[in-house]
């Protein structure tokens, strides 16, 4: 059962008015323009025991992505494909709003939107994650760990997911005579085969203003949010409206354009971060 949020942080009405007055002048409270994301930092290989990992900071929002790859059984209807599982945890240490317990609707929505945006455009080559067709395949667990919540979990989570996927290494294994697949507890140098990179762009609609990458204050005062995922060719590979409000067709048209522009900014930052990561590795 989904219930109207009753624990949302309350923002004084006067703050909303201050923000709206700024928007009238074309400004935002943190001095960004409407269409620029916050400062982004992307670190990869931040954990030793995961097959792949990344820590992304989008302003004050922090998301850690961890990838574990384990042998398992394929789905019956997809015997020649590995299994992708995406989960998100809104960890209680990240916000006074987050409670311990099983994933709530927000965590489930976040994980499912990231999952669809990776799965539908076949961003990960799942066919390459097969050990023995119909019998043993790789299970790819992508866990998104929200460590600090200052709005816009979708964009930060997708950046973290892509950074971790792009730098993850397959485990080393041996096939025993019994047919069992045993991990040697060493990592190989083989990366996960990716077909394309994806970024996700969230915009908030606040009255008639559209803002890219809303922070928490902007999320709370927003009427509604639109989440658009793009591939590098500019195709839309996933959409989700989230939040209480509604929008008009003209606004949605506008949001598509604004989001696809912002996607280019994310792609540049992601690609730069992953190139510099490779250089560091080479220098070691």
């Amino acid at each position: 059962m989904s219930t109207t949020p009753y624990k949302t942080q309350i923002i004084p009405k006067i703050k909303r008015d201050v923000y709206l007055n700024l928007y009238k002048k074309g400004q935002r409270a943190d001095e960004r323009d409407f269409y620029s994301p916050r400062k982004i930092s992307i670190q990869t290989n931040v954990l030793e025991k995961a097959n792949g990992s990344a820590l992304v900071k989008l302003g004050n929002t922090q998301v850690m992505a961890g990838i574990k790859i384990e042998p398992g059984e394929p789905f019956e209807d997809m015997p020649d494909e590995g299994v992708l599982q995406v989960h998100a945890e809104l960890v209680p240490l990240a916000s006074p709003q987050f409670e311990p317990g099983p994933p709530d609707e927000n965590a489930i929505e976040l994980a499912r939107v990231i999952d669809r945006s990776l799965r539908d455009p076949k961003a990960i080559d799942l066919k390459s994650l097969v050990i023995r067709p119909g019998d043993k395949v790789w299970m790819l667990w992508l866990d998104l760990y929200i460590l600090d919540y200052d709005g816009n979990l979708f964009d930060a989570s997708m950046l973290a997911a892509m950074a971790a996927l792009s730098t993850a290494k397959m485990p080393e294994y041996e096939e025993l005579e019994t047919g069992e697949v045993k991990l040697t507890n060493k990592v190989s140098n083989i990366p996960i085969k990716l077909n394309k990179r994806i970024v996700t762009v969230t915009t908030a609609k606040i009255e008639n203003y559209i803002l890219v990458d809303p922070n928490l204050d902007e999320e709370i005062i927003s009427d509604t949010r639109s989440v658009f995922s793009f591939d590098e060719n500019g195709n839309i590979v996933g959409v989700q409206k989230t939040g209480m409000g509604s929008i008009s067709q003209e606004e949605l048209d506008n949001i598509v354009n604004i989001s696809s522009q912002a996607a280019q900014v994310y792609f540049k930052l992601l690609n730069d971060a992953l190139v510099s990561d490779k250089k560091e590795e080479g220098g070691k």
């Binding site: 219930t3 009753y6 609707e105 994980a111 669809r116 409206k241």
Partner: protein, 243 residues
């Protein structure tokens, strides 16, 4: 039992779909309101083989923990009956049902005038009795009718329809085969009378141009479905007055 297999083609040389529809043609739609006696409002809606029952209880006193001082709390549950799918579905709520309950609630929040009923809750139960694609959009239509049938003030009626893409053609109101094996599924819920879109999701890949066209196609069909909703509601009151 109907078994599903991937078709060779989705659209034949005459431009007809597997079930004989044109790309921009919805399935036959049936609606009925006041179908349950206990609920304050209820509706049964069918798009082809997809059949969804919705019931509304409230406004009623809200549980203390979720009470809102300035408006009613809206609670929505989307649930699939165990016998609604090809293989029996475990009745425990899945992650999919949790997400759909959320997006459906958020598709109704903009039109229900919750500010009229502070400290109360309005419950909307959406039960999928038979699933053949587009269940959440049929659910939105049924919920809209059930809310109106319960006499809850609304800014406008909403209705839903899904747009898909098969053989590189955009199609309206996917059935299960077109959803499962097609290239995109884009459910849309809107309130055409106030020019607002209240739910949009995309599962699949579309170009920006296709996305715009898909929204356009959806809104055309939704406008017709909302007209049917009005007709259905009007007729139900005519019957009552004749009794």
């Amino acid at each position: 039992m109907i078994t599903l297999t991937r078709p060779q083609r989705f659209i034949d040389d005459e431009g007809k779909r597997l079930d004989g529809r044109k790309p921009d043609e919805a399935r036959p739609i049936k609606m009925q309101v006041g179908v349950l006696s206990n609920a304050d409002g209820s509706a049964l809606v069918e798009y082809g083989l997809t059949r969804v029952l919705a019931a509304v209880y409230g406004p009623k006193e809200s549980q203390k923990s979720m009470l809102l001082p300035d408006r009613a709390t809206l609670r929505v549950r989307y649930h699939m009956a165990p016998f609604s799918t090809e293989e029996r579905k475990n009745p425990a709520p899945t992650r999919r049902e949790v997400e759909l309950s959320k997006v459906l609630r958020e598709s109704l929040e903009p039109v229900v005038m919750t500010e009229y009923f502070p400290r109360t809750s309005i419950d909307v139960f959406i039960e999928v009795l038979q699933s053949d694609g587009g269940t959440r959009t049929v659910g939105a239509t049924a919920a809209s009718l059930a809310l109106a049938d319960a006499g809850i003030p609304m800014r406008a009626l909403v209705a839903g329809v899904a747009i898909g893409k098969v053989d590189n053609v955009l199609i309206v109101d996917l059935n299960e085969v077109e959803d499962m094996y097609g290239d995109a599924d884009m459910p849309v819920v809107a309130a055409p009378d106030i020019g607002q879109i209240t739910l949009y999701q995309l599962n699949g890949v579309l170009s920006k141009e296709e996305f715009r066209n898909a929204i356009d196609m959806a809104l055309k069909v939704i406008t017709k479905i909302v007209d049917m909703e009005k007709e259905t509601l009007r007729n139900s009151y005519v019957e009552v007055s004749e009794e």
